[in-house]
Amino acid sequence: MNPVRSRGSSDYDTFVVCLKSFVCLQEIISESDFHAFEIDSIVGDVLDVKVLPNRVADCNSEAGLARELSAILEIPTTLPRPSGSLPPVTVSLAQINGILGSDFSQSEVEDVFKRLGLDTKIAGAAFTVTPPASRPDLIIAEDLVEEVGRILGYDRVLPTELPPLSGVSDQARFRGIERMKDSLIEQGFTEVSTQSFVTAGDITLANPLDQTRPALRTSLEENLQEVLARAKQYEALILPPKQKLKLFEVGSVFPKEGEYLELRMTERVPEWGDSAGISDNLTIAKLEDYGKDYAPKKYTLGAYKPFSLYPFIVRDIALWVPVGTESGTILEVIRKESGTLLVRSELFDTFSSGGGSALGGKKKTRISYAFRLVLQSFETGNHDSRAIYHLGVSPQVDWNEC
């Protein structure tokens, strides 16, 4: 059996062991899982066990696995002790508890090495283990510490908080980057994240996953333009009328001169001054100073709401109502009557008349509200007629489609 597996769905070599089932299989599964031997499946009395790469030397045989399970489950075994010997490894009780943060006793540790069938000499609080030839994974004291933790169980390692750090934590650079983002968010930009792989670039992968995108991006531009074009199709779904779709991305790019962190926007930010372009090299920017006293804005997000893959319809609708009627009242009625198909609804224009202009001094008797409605189904594509019919059951008003 080749101990190194290059590819495959399982991370580890998978071996099968037959165990005479004199203990409950469920117990074997649960105990094995928590002692580094995950059981993939059981068919009859055959267990399919995942063996971690550090244990292929001894657990690539049924006898080896049976020996390990006997140690984990504390079932006596008649199997002979493994032969041969490797250089001895010494660990002290203080070292074990000092690494694990545990409170294991001398006798518990002694028992672990006994259960594992390891040849152990004890001098005071020091244990010297001479591993058999089949345990080349036991080389340093830490390897023995792991055996103790694994067998006695990490549930006995109790959560302990770190003491306060004597220095201060430094998140200035991170905060500088986030401050840039906050500034863009305020200007109406939305952040996107795209793939690092593109069709052509200066650096190419030796083993690309997608043969059509074998190169690393030299700039965020190609992806950002592609994303903007796609986003424009969904603009009405996500933005209020009259708001312009503006995007930005912060990501690593790989030109031949060397990797750097790029900030790129789909358009300039006028507020940033005439010299500011649509991209910036954040690797050379002095972000530490910019961020050191900044607290990035915090948001809470609600549960994710999946978007429908069906097309949507946008309807701009204007209607006259007597002065004094609130637009919110009408929107409420529209929303109530439109049901689940209505995914967005906003007022986007108001116009008063009745003997004068909206700004005129004469008394106005009626007012026109224009609403943008976006309709979309999760179950089927919307048909124009159906959407209109749907709106037709709305309140008794004069519909004037814009």
């Binding site: 305020e186 994240s193 992968l205 995007l247 962190l261 804005k297 994710y304």
Partner: protein, 248 residues
Amino acid sequence: MEAETARGHLHPISVALREIAEIFGRMGFSIVYGPELETDWYNFTALNIPPNHPARSMQDTFWIKNQPDHVLRTHTTSVSVRALEQLAKSGGTEMRVLNPGKVFRNEATDMTHEAQFYQLDGFAVGPAGSVTLAHLKGTLERFYREYLGENAKVRFRPSFFGFTEPSVEIEVWFTPLGKESRWLEMSGAGMFHPNVLRNAGLDPAKMQGFAFGGGLERLLMVKYGIPDVRLFHSGDVRFVYGFEEEKI
């Protein structure tokens, strides 16, 4: 009516990292960055994963054409080694670091696998005996409690990674949205292998510490009920707008 400039939206990864950085910041963790196009040394060999080490087969690596000593980093633990080197150079005796960033794995993509994703990786080191596996449990339990909710708790399952000894899988008890509480595998962790400290120029007889690392998207998927990991880096704005957002 004048068009007002409505706020744009922040990507959920950024929203999450701000909260995570703040929680770890309260526990003394700094944030550091490193290259995504990494040398074989920092990604593997310095992390006690020399050529032909079995742990290399556990990670499907993207290699670079005509640069056999370069890879796209498979974890941000590469940044940990760089940070430990800085610690060694400065002669310091303690350090707590979080290194969030993009990592790459050459594996087929599906709803739960992406070839590029973010990793939340971190470590704490101090004088020997001062930073233990119990501190790892305490640190992560506090993090998950503050991030996922008061009833979150952490348990360890023994595992194997080249750069830690002992090594554990972190499982978190959590109630995903609309589902029963259960144990979720969240990251790999352990105590730095002495060889890693040595490779960074530190003396493992005098220093020890814990390290942890896991996918960030996975954490967000369970927290917010996101069904498909490929949404994160698809560039689709509908994903970014798929959450009710409230500014605190």
